[in-house]
Subunit: 131 residues, 2 copies
Amino acid sequence: MLKITKRVEYALIAIRHLQENQDVLVSVSDISTAYGIPKEILAKTLQKLASSNIVKSYKGPTGGYKATKKIAKTTLNDFFEILEGPTAIMDCYFQDGCDHLNSCNIRTPINKINDSIRNLFNNLTLADISQ
Amino acid sequence: MLKITKRVEYALIAIRHLQENQDVLVSVSDISTAYGIPKEILAKTLQKLASSNIVKSYKGPTGGYKATKKIAKTTLNDFFEILEGPTAIMDCYFQDGCDHLNSCNIRTPINKINDSIRNLFNNLTLADISQ
DNA sequence: ATTATATACGATTATATTTGTCGTATATAG
DNA sequence: CTATATACGACAAATATAATCGTATATAAT
């Protein structure tokens, strides 16, 4: 449990690679072959990052991706939520569709754990974890 | 991603129920029916907690479980690891069997994230998240 | 203009993990 | 002796994640 997904893993690999090669455009294939990552998944992952301006995309032959200055300032929470949606350890007892809500006795602890994790990730940037 | 398992959820429900009923022995069936939890899974979960002395078990008819004083002092990390094994966001790039190790460029960030989470969970007890 | 190569993106399949069930053994109160 | 509780391993079902496939669009180079 509490695992990150391959998408997040691939995204981290990609942005670090882009940061180390800021002078050139890097294509999906470049990263895919360099790290042994399935091309299609990596492509979609970079598309998500591009739509949030974490990276910038350039179409056409000689196209590819570039790192942006936004990367360093991005929090882990934002990074995760761009790729995977809301950070939440449960999915979920306290929203619509929970048929246990009436007898639920763990609302407080679940919320406290969740708040702690979100607070942690909101106070860590991608720059913080890079060095 | 970063979800807790049902086992952890059920364990939380169970220990909170036991803490609220410290004067009596509570059986698996009691908790199972009260919260709509599958009996067999709950049983195994409580067996794990019992083998770590988080709860105490009593066999035979009129048997069941009781909360122990150890609960409040138990850290979230210990609680999670009793039920689910080592707390780690990846499984894993840096151990045996990783065929990407030579080209891995995310060792540092993964370790930093992992250390942060483990640090958080090691400094939160079950008592801390209860109120 | 045409071609080759890149990103963009929805639909589908494959795989892995999690969740739940079944069967059997052991302990013990009445 | 019997009924009811915990103990525990093996298996099956359900769900979530990962990967693939197909098609569209943009654009640099010829």
